[in-house]
C-alpha cells in the first residue's frame, strides 16, 4: 500500500472530520494522520475505547508513538472496513463448522485483508493490534501466522520466520528424547 496515498486520504478526511465528529484522528510515530470511525475504533480496540471514553482523544491527532504509519494505516483500514462490513449471510449461524477446528474463523474479507500484507507488515500489524487491545484483529492475524506454520517441518518454520536455532546439538537431542512420544509416529 502506498504511504503517499494514505497521507493524502488522511488529510482529506481530516477536513471532513472537523465537521463531523463521528471519527477520531490518530497520529502515527512518524507524524502521519489517519481518520477512523469512532464507533468502530471503540468497538474494536479496548485502548481506543478507553481513550474515547476518557476524553483523551486529541482532535488534532492522538499520538500513537508506538505505531508506524504503515501499520496504523492498516489498523485504520481494518476498522473502517469493519464499520462497513455487513455480517455475512445475515445470520449468525450461517457458518457452521462441521469438521473444521474450533477457531474464531476470520471472515473472507479479513482473510484477504491479511493475505495481501508483506511479512513485516503482518508483524507490524500484530504488534499494533496488541498495543491497541484489538482482540478481533489479533485473532485474525494470529490465525494467519498459524496458517503459515501449519503442516511445515521445524526447519521449514525456521526458514519462513527467520528463527535462529540456538540449541546445541546435545540440547536438541535431549528435547527429541524428551518429546519422543510426540515424534513417535514420524
Amino acid at each position: 500500500m502506498e504511504v503517499d496515498k494514505g497521507k493524502g486520504e488522511a488529510e482529506e478526511t481530516r477536513k471532513v472530520a472537523e465537521a463531523d465528529r463521528d471519527t477520531v484522528t490518530l497520529k502515527s510515530s512518524d507524524g502521519k494522520l489517519f481518520e477512523v470511525s469512532k464507533e468502530a475504533a471503540a468497538r474494536l480496540s479496548t485502548v481506543l475505547a478507553g481513550m474515547i471514553a476518557g476524553g483523551s482523544i486529541d482532535d488534532n491527532g492522538t499520538d500513537l508513538k508506538q505505531i508506524g504509519s504503515e501499520a496504523l494505516e492498516n489498523v485504520v483500514d481494518y476498522c473502517n472496513k469493519h464499520a462497513n462490513s455487513i455480517p455475512s449471510a445475515a445470520l449468525i449461524s450461517s457458518s457452521i463448522s462441521f469438521n473444521t477446528a474450533p477457531f474464531k474463523e476470520p471472515e473472507e474479507w479479513e482473510r484477504k485483508f491479511v493475505d495481501r500484507l508483506s511479512h513485516d507488515a503482518l508483524f507490524d500489524l500484530v504488534e499494533a493490534a496488541n498495543f491497541l487491545g484489538m482482540e478481533r484483529l489479533l485473532d485474525v492475524t494470529c490465525h494467519k501466522i498459524s496458517e503459515m506454520m501449519k503442516g511445515k517441518s521445524p526447519d521449514q518454520i525456521r526458514e519462513v520466520f527467520n528463527i535462529k536455532n540456538d540449541y546445541t546439538k546435545e540440547e536438541l537431542e535431549e528435547i527429541r528424547q524428551e518429546l519422543a512420544w510426540a515424534f513417535y509416529d514420524d
Partner: protein, 436 residues
C-alpha cells in the same frame, strides 16, 4: 485472548514503536515472530494441531516450553498412524502441561479399527478437560460409512458432563438421548452455546434456561439410510437468542414452547413438518432476523399457506427476512402476508431454486392476477432492498418483480443474482440491479 503491552523477549529484536520506514524495510530479515509476547504465541500455537504445537518446542530456546501453556488443545486422531500412538500422545501431553490453564479442548476421532477401550479413554479426557475448567469443548467423530456399519458413536450420556465453566459444546456424530440432554443442561449451568452437527438425536425435549445459541444441522449428512430423526423436537429456551436448524432428517415435528428472546432464527428444512404455522410464527414473532428456507416439497408449506392467513402475528422487530420458493405459491400469498405484517422490514432475500413443480403452481403467468387481486397495495415503507437469488433464465422473476412493484406502495431497490447449485449458500458473485 489475553492482551498486554508487548515486551521484547530477545535483545535486539524489532519491537513496538519501531518505524516501518525505509531503513527497517530493506534490511529487516529478523525473527519477528519470536519477539511477540508469550500470550500471542500461545494463541498462535493454540491454532495448530496438537502434534505440531508440541513440535514447536524444537524451533529454538524461546519456543522450548511455550506449547505447554497454550490455552487451546486440538487433538486429531487422523494425525497418528495408530490408535495407541494417539492415546499415548494425548495422555503424555496432559501430563506435560501440568496445571496450565485450558480454555478449550477439541477432539476428533477418525475411521479405523479402534481398541475396545478407546471410547472409555476419550470419556476420561473429556472429564479431565472439564476438571481443567474448559469453556469450550468439541467432540467430533467421523462420518458413518458403509465399511463400518456397526460403528459405535460417542454417547453424550457417557461423558461426565458436569462443569460450572463450560460455555460452548460442539458435538458432531454423537449419540444424544433424552437422559443425556437433561443431564447436560442441569450439569452445565453456564452452557450458552450448543451445536449438534449430524448427531443421532433420540431426544425430544430441549429445555434450558441459560442457552443462548442452539444449532442442529444435518446439511452434510452423508447416509440418511443409517439414521433419521424419529423424535419430535420441542424447544423450550427462554434465553435463546440465536437458533439454527438445518436439514432435519426423517419426519421430525418441530415445535417451540418459549423462545421469546430469539433475535435471529434460521430454519432450513428439506423434510419435516411443523405443528402449525401459527404457533411457529407466533413463537418467532420477536425476531430481528428470520430465515425460512424450505424445499418446495416440504409438507409444511401447505399448512403454512393456509394457516398463515389466520395468524394474528405482527413481526414488529423484523428487519431482515430470507425466504425460499415456498412463499411464492398462489401468487406470493405467504410472501405478501409476511411483508404486510413486518412493518420494520428493511431487507428481503428470496432464494429460488430450480422449480420442481410447474411454474403455474406459483404464479399466474397471465400477469393479471396480481393486478386484478382486489387487495390494494400496501406500505412496507422501511423496505430498502429486495434481493432475488434464482437460476439464470428463470421465468418467475419477471412476474415476481411485477407483483412486488404493484403491491408495494414505495418500491424498494431490487437486485437479482444468479443462483447455481443446490445448496442454499451457493450464489455467483455477478449481479445486476434493477432500479425502479
Amino acid at each position: 485472548m489475553p492482551l498486554s503491552v508487548p515486551e521484547p523477549h530477545l535483545e535486539g529484536q524489532p519491537t513496538m514503536g519501531r518505524s516501518s520506514g525505509k531503513s527497517a524495510k530493506g534490511t529487516d530479515l529478523g525473527d519477528r515472530i519470536s519477539g511477540l509476547p508469550d500470550e500471542l504465541l500461545h494463541s498462535v500455537i493454540s491454532l495448530l494441531p496438537a502434534k505440531e504445537a508440541v513440535c514447536t518446542s524444537v524451533l529454538s530456546l524461546r519456543w522450548r516450553n511455550l506449547w505447554k501453556s497454550a490455552p487451546c488443545l486440538n487433538v486429531d486422531a487422523e494425525d497418528f498412524t495408530s490408535q495407541s500412538s494417539f492415546i499415548e500422545f494425548v495422555n503424555t501431553m496432559w501430563l506435560s502441561r501440568g496445571g496450565s490453564r485450558l480454555e478449550s479442548f477439541w477432539l476428533r476421532a477418525c475411521p479405523g479399527i479402534f481398541l475396545e477401550n478407546f471410547r472409555e479413554t476419550v470419556y476420561l479426557w473429556i472429564g479431565h478437560a472439564l476438571r481443567s475448567n474448559v469453556e469450550e469443548l468439541g467432540v467430533i467423530d467421523h462420518d458413518l460409512n458403509e465399511f463400518e456399519y456397526h460403528h459405535q458413536l460417542f454417547h453424550l450420556g457417557h461423558c461426565p458432563l458436569t462443569s460450572s465453566c463450560l460455555k460452548k459444546l460442539h458435538l458432531c456424530y454423537v449419540n444424544i438421548d433424552n437422559h443425556a440432554i437433561k443431564n447436560l443442561f442441569s450439569g452445565c449451568p453456564a452452557l450458552e452455546n450448543l451445536e449438534m452437527i449430524n448427531c443421532e438425536i433420540y431426544a425430544t425435549e430441549f429445555s434450558s434456561a441459560t442457552l443462548k445459541s442452539l444449532s442442529i444441522d444435518y446439511a452434510d449428512f452423508p447416509h440418511p439410510v443409517y439414521y433419521t430423526i424419529q423424535e419430535d423436537i420441542v424447544i423450550n429456551m427462554p434465553s435463546l437468542a440465536s437458533l439454527h436448524i438445518g436439514g432435519l432428517l426423517g419426519i421430525a415435528m418441530l415445535s417451540f414452547v418459549d423462545v421469546q428472546s430469539l433475535i435471529a432464527a434460521s430454519i432450513r428444512l428439506d423434510r419435516g413438518t411443523f405443528t402449525g404455522a401459527c404457533s411457529i410464527l407466533g413463537a418467532l414473532s420477536n425476531v430481528k432476523k428470520l430465515e425460512l428456507l424450505f424445499r418446495g416439497d416440504v409438507e409444511g408449506e401447505y399448512s403454512f399457506q393456509i394457516d398463515m392467513q389466520l395468524c394474528r402475528v405482527v413481526f414488529a422487530n423484523l428487519t431482515s427476512l430470507s425466504l425460499s420458493d415456498w412463499c411464492l405459491y398462489d401468487n406470493c400469498k405467504a410472501l405478501l402476508f409476511l411483508l404486510q405484517h413486518s412493518p420494520n422490514l428493511e431487507d428481503l432475500t428470496l432464494k429460488i431454486r430450480e422449480f420442481l413443480f410447474d411454474t403455474d403452481e406459483y404464479l399466474d403467468m397471465s400477469c393479471s392476477a396480481a393486478a386484478a387481486d382486489s387487495a390494494t397495495p400496501f406500505s412496507c415503507e422501511k423496505l430498502r432492498k429486495v434481493e432475488i437469488i434464482c437460476p439464470k433464465g428463470n421465468k418467475i422473476v419477471g412476474m415476481l418483480v411485477t407483483i412486488l412493484l404493484t403491491k408495494l406502495m414505495s418500491p424498494p431497490e431490487i437486485i437479482i443474482k444468479p443462483f447455481s447449485g443446490s445448496s442454499w449458500d451457493d450464489s455467483d458473485d455477478q449481479r445486476w440491479t434493477y432500479y425502479d
